[in-house]
Every structure is written in structure tokens, then in C-alpha cells.
Amino acid sequence: MIKFINASFMYEEISEVGEKEYRAATGIKNINLHIKEGECLVLCGVSGCGKTSLSRMINGLIPHFYHGSLEGEVLSKEVNMSQQAIAKTAEKVGSVFQNPRTQFFNVDTTSELAFGCENLGVAVNEIGSRIEEAVEKLNLKHLMDRSIFELSGGEKQRIACGSVYATHPDVFVMDEPSSSLDKSSIIQLKGVIETLKKMGKTVIIAEHRLHYLRDVADRFVYMQEGEIKSVYDREDFLKLSLDALTSKGLRTLDLNSLKALPVIHHERKPSICIKHLSFSRGKREILNIESLALFQHEIVALIGDNGAGKTTLAHCLCGLEKFKGMIEIDGKVQKNKELTARSFMVMQDVNTQLFTESVAEELLLNIEKPDKEKVDKLLKALNLEAHRERHPMALSGGQKQRVAIASAMMAGKDILIYDEPTSGLDWDNMNRMSELIRDTEKNTLCTMIITHDPELIFKTCDRVIHLKDGQVFDSYPVDAEGVEKIKKYFIE
């Protein structure tokens, strides 16, 4: 079906003097791979290993959208993909991307389903019947005629799959489709992939999260530094031990096999008390918490389905929402403004959190008494020393996140909240993030992590708060019993 013959690619970059440069460190090299018809193939490896680049060579974005130097051949049914116009490739290969927010062209779901077909010039009557077919096959009936902006991440990914499906491609390419999904959305996505496979479609998925693919994938391709290191059949891959996976930088295949770090039980006094907290938007009550205490130097995981009120609770804690009830810190009732001054939320998308022209300046923004020593210490601790004069926007995603955390440390914030810090991170980076959170915890009063990542919880958190329908459904320490509860929540 698709053959890679000695294929290599380097991304083109414009150097400071305005000349074209090719960076060998990015891109992929010496790829030989034969993808069979009707197969479900998973591309895995740490960030930057080249799995996304490989997927871009299949849907033609390389070399038609991302320019660079291409060697070797990628053949799809004996047609050379690099010579074929990308609009032609679009008829045969459908793509689903990582971020459900940025892959929609339309504002309503029905138009979105029609979009691919319209581009390919399919006749109007035919589009109608194709949409009906996609709706039936992928079970999208309740999502029709809705605004894209009111759908959950999982629903958006299902619409993305449906829209691609309507163009009747033979091959589906998915680039980290699960990275911003919660557990029930991941189950929906898995269902869609199973359906596609049953229909005989070829599905290629570049992915960090592997556990949801264990039953549906036929082969796993492990990549490292732009090269294919090994190709496993499912049976062989499932035999790999957790240690073997982590040494490759891969996430777990089996959530059941995870173990938590031993919990340190020491005397803890409540430092933040939430009392009779409620919040409504319009007539709908989003949050209603009778009482909840957060302990000093505690790392809490906030879990729950989409719409359970996790983000709203975080916003209330940070004083961003006008809520009813009260929040006390060390026995003193806090006004909203005081809460905002004492808290910081590390967002998933850090691009909107950085304001200045250099990393050092970012740390000193709005600091009344600039303490140069503290800046040096923080930059060193967060591994940012080499970048102190660089523009924050020129850094990688992980580095930007660290700059944001450093700015919060610099301002001496008491409450630190992370919003999905490890979605889309490989094992190594997740591990690094976990260590970073544990280290910074010493300098704050309380740390809260909104997350759908059980691996992160087991490695990092002391306690879990489980929200359901705006209420505290459960709250328990991450001990032997707690581990079972967490597994039960994420696996079912």
C-alpha cells in the first residue's frame, strides 16, 4: 500500500542571515517501511523522534507544506507522493490532527463534515448521502447541527474523523489524536479506530499514549532520532516489560501494571479551606462544594470527566470567578484579588502567558524588589540558564512552560495550579515534569494538578480529589487503596 524507500527529510529553516539551512537534527533519515493495506500501524518514540514527520510524508504535508530537502521515495500504490499534488493526495489519505481546536475550518458540525467533500468537488447530492453514511457509521447523530465551540475535545475528534471519513479515503493518518482528550473521549476514539479497521481502512497513528491502542494496533514502529529502530508485531510489543518501555522513553501499555510511589505520611495541617463554595453560569450550577481542605505542601490531583467543574474550581481558587462561599488561607478569608495575587495557573497553551522580550525580563516583570540572585538560582534550577537573554517565544514548548513556572516562583506565589501539564508528553518529559513539580512544591503552600494522566498522578501526587457533577465525589490519598480507585476510574 505505502512504501518508504530510503526516505530522508530535513526541515528547511531560514538562518539569521536570511539563507536557507537544513538542520539534520530535525526530520527523519533512512526510512524503509512497507505499510500493508488494512493495517493499523502505530508510530511511537520520544518527542522529536520523527514520528510526526513520518506521518506528514504520508499525507503529503511534507514536502508540500513543510519545505525541506527530501531524498528517497514514498510510494502510495506505486505513485510517488512527493510528485503528486497535495489536493490529489487528499482524495486518498485523510488526516486527523493533534489539536481539536485548530483543525476545524467551519463553525458548525454539519458544514465541517461536508468540508472535505466540497474541496474535492463532490456533487451536492453525493455529499448529502456521504454525510449520512459517516453519521451512521461513526455514530454522530447527536452531534449534527451543533456549534463546534460547544463540543468536548472527544466529540471534536469524532467530528474530525467523520469529516475525513466522508471523503472516502483508503488511508487515515492520525497525529497524536488523543493528546488533549479525557478518558471517556479516548474510549470514543478507540471505538472509531476499531470501526475504520473493520471496514478495511489503513490507519496510521503517531502517538504517545499507547494503552488505548493495545487491542487495535497490528504493528508498532519504534523510532529514535529520526530513524526506525525496530518494528514489533502486537504480540511481541505487548510482551515488553514496563522497564523496557520506560528505557525507550515510552508510556505504559497497560494502566493496570502501574505502581505508585510510597506516600510519605507526615503530620499535615490544613492551610486552604474551601467552605460552601458554589458557582453558577446562567441557571446551571457548575460547582457546589460543601467543604474541602488542602494541606500544607501537598500535591493534589484534580480528576473527573469533562464538565465536572475542574477548571471552574481552579479558577475560583485563583480568584478569577465570582463565586458564592468563602476560601480561607491559614484561617483568614481571602478576597478574590488576594487569591489572584497569591496564585498562578500554568496553562496548557503557554503562548498566552508570556509577555516580555527575554527570559530574564519575564522573571522580573512586576517584581517590586528585583533580586538578581534569586533569578540566577531559579534559572539554574529550571535549566534555563543558557536561555536567559533569549526571547521567550523562541523557546520550545517545554521551555516556555518552565519560564512560566519560574515567573510564578519569582513572584512567590502560594498556590500553583497546573492545567494538564503532561498531555502529549512522552515518558521522559513526563518524568521531568513530575520532578519539577515535586521540586517547586517546597516553595509553595499548595500545588494542584488538573490531569487525565494516571502515570503522572502515581509519580507525583499525594492525594486525589475526584469531582463529579460539580461536587467532590471522592477524596483519597495515593496509597495502595487509592491506587486501585484511580485505576478503576481511568480504566473503566
Binding site: 487528499a90 485548530t102 475550518f105 467551519n106 474541496n119 471523503t167 478569577l320
Partner: protein, 241 residues
Amino acid sequence: MENFNFGYTNSPYLWMDPRSKALLFLAANFALWGGTNYFASNLFFVFIVLLLINGKQTRMAMTAFVIYFAFLAIDVVLISKLSGTVSILLLTIFRVTRLYMPVICAAILLIRTTTVSEFVAAFKRMGLSDKIIIPFSVMFRFFPTLGEEWRNIRNAMRFRGIRFDWQSIMLSPIKTLEYVIVPLLMSTVKISGDLSAASISRGLGGPKERTCFKQIRFGILDYGVVILSSIFMIFTILDGM
């Protein structure tokens, strides 16, 4: 910027073609520049309000209706009895606001009750090329995204103690603007890059003639709107002469 409802709507009682909404908007502008005849202008405004109710924008329609006639009453009863600076001031507030009401209502009808796909279909029927239609639909796609990004930036500014109020805008306008524009640009550049990659890989910009799934047709209401709008426009032109 909190509430971006552009381009998406609940379905109206009687469907209206975007083209007739556009004509209505044009006619409402005539009321602004040529409207010396109270009776015709008022009648036309009531017609627009009724169309808003048809488009399920009831609350908006009611508010506009009350403001319009309250201001008209003030204009007729009060201002004619005053003179000097006070009357000019009151005139500016009450009459100008009132004169703009039909235009505002027609614009709301056009924007709030038309989906992007209906706009695109209408443009297609009017024979516009994809070179105009595609940027237009991307623009609509971007309004809600900008809203989301703006909220994130506002939150981030609060955490960092960056002020965004009248005082900061007056005292240090450039700095305040920079704190808003830099993150907004950075995030929208990223979003638009991703969006282009996604649409190209789905065949946008290919050599084939694009089709349009959404089909639109003139209904009974549309003929009514076109006739009334035309009569009103001709009337105001003749009246003006």
C-alpha cells in the same frame, strides 16, 4: 469581547436568505441618511424588529423597540421645547442613537442569524470567487478563537499583576497594548499555521471546482423583504429630493 455569537444561530421561524438580509441592511442605512419622514422610518424599523423576532432574537428586538420609541418620545416632547447647548447635547444623545437603531438591528439580524455556511452559499450564488469566500469564512472561524485566546490572556495578566483598565490604558497605552498584542499574535500565528496545514491536507485550494453543500433559495419572506426594502429606499430618495 466575551460573547462571540457570530455565524451561529438557532433556526428562525421562517427562513430568510442572507442576500435579502443584506439588502435590508442597505435599506436601513437609507433610513439613517435620508430619513426625514418619521412615519416611514418608524414603520420600517418596526418591520426590522419583527424580522428579529422571527430570527429568535426576541430579547434584542424588545430592547431595541423600547429604546427607539422612548428616545423618539423624548425627541418630540422635550427637545423641541429647549434651545442652546443643552438641546444640542440631548439631540446628539437621543436622536443620533435612535437614528442608528435600524442599522444596528439589521446588522444584528445579518450576523446573528446567519451561519457561515449560509454566507458562503450566498456568496457562491452571487458568483464571488473562492479567493474572496475562503478568507471570509476563515475570518468568521477566527472570531470565537480570538475570544477564547483573549480570555486566557486576561487571566494570565491578572496572575502576573499586569493591569488592564482605563488607568493603565491612559497612562501607558503602548506598554498595555504590547502586553495584549504580543501573546495574542503569538498564539494566533500558531493557530493559523495549524489551521492551514489541516485545511490543505483536506484538499482546500485544489484544482477542482469547489462545490457547496448548503443550498439556499428565496422564500416567501424574502420576496416580502426585497419588495418592502426597495419601496422604502425609493421612497426615501424621492422624499429627499
